[in-house]
Symmetry: C2
């Protein structure tokens, strides 16, 4: 039945690497949802055949795993940096919030996909587990900063950690890089988020 | 071909109102995504036939419109309340943030659906337009509160409005009502959000 089909045109020859295929796949996952994306959709978006995709990866779940692992590794790497590991807890927390904002912006597609993961596959459940672990580490930092007297005494560490990342992660809903150098943009946004979270919106008399 | 199909069982008789059908549909839209939901999915979730659904509404877009309109009408009603219309801008802003948190919690499924709308249909585009109008109204309040000297002078009103609702709306990602009386829960969460946004996390010497 398929013997008379024309050969795939030369423009569809596979010049992809795993990296370029991953970028194309993540865009489709974000627009259509991971569950709503078929291998056919991925092949169309990448401009190659389904069987070419299987030369690079075992299937769409491997692409999801590569993406969310990259986002999560970036976030956990922040916790290992000296700014997150040394000094008063409030300074470490501030460092983590600032760097998390920057990670979100530098790694926007992967972090956006991570934030949409709902737990329908083993890969998604592992990703949610690692997100929870990250939240616990930050909640512990909040608790330590309260104990050291640097954050308000009445705060609930777990709720505070949720609200902090609710704010940080919400940037993925509207942030789109404009400048060629979006490092400066990332720094300005991180400053705004850190200022809002730590000092609030209200004007105060000069200390 | 279908003449020998059995009649629908009695348990599938349609006891729905538009209201109960809407509740069922919104749950499915949130889980599967609006685009990913077929009339077949809606019929299954509601336990009635597709043609019974058409007795209540013109189709799935009408169900989406009923839901997001309810969420948006609730938010805009807040702007018309005396607490949002009278007094210093900072107090009005604080009132709007608190009431928006409460609206999100009281109206959770409809607001959650509203926040997922991406603009693929006329109904979605109108909803996004009304969300933008709401953001502009709040950005104007932020600007007024800066001008009155009650909020920090360096704030960008538009970015601030986005961050405020980023934080408020993020609660829809994790909040699930526990208590029978979730009014008290809603008030406690609204207090936490207002405290974080206006006063920040940092401990301060007593005034």
């Amino acid at each position: 039945m398929v013997a008379s089909q024309p050969a795939a045109p030369a423009t569809r020859r596979d010049s992809h690497t795993v990296e370029t295929l991953l970028s194309a796949a993540v865009e489709v996952f974000i627009v259509r949802g991971y569950d709503g994306t078929s291998m056919e959709d991925l092949a169309k978006a990448a401009g190659i055949t389904k069987s070419s995709i299987y030369h690079h990866v075992a299937g769409k779940e491997e692409l999801l795993r590569l993406s969310v692992t990259r986002a999560l590794d970036g976030l956990f790497a922040v916790l290992g940096e000296p700014g997150a590991a040394e000094g008063r807890a409030v300074a470490r927390l501030e460092y983590v919030v600032r760097r998390t904002c920057q990670e979100l912006i530098e790694n926007l597609p992967h972090v956006t996909l991570l934030l949409r993961v709902r737990g329908n596959t083993a890969t998604e459940r592992e990703a949610l587990e690692r997100r929870r672990e990250f939240d616990h580490r930050v909640a512990a930092l909040v608790a330590a900063a309260i104990a050291e007297g640097d954050l308000r005494a009445g705060l609930d560490p777990r709720l505070t950690s949720r609200l902090i990342f609710g704010l940080v992660n919400s940037m993925s809903e509207w942030y789109r890089p404009h400048a060629a150098d979006h490092g400066a943009e990332a720094d300005a946004l991180a400053d705004a988020v850190v200022g809002l979270l730590f000092d609030g919106l209200r004007a105060r008399p000069e200390a």
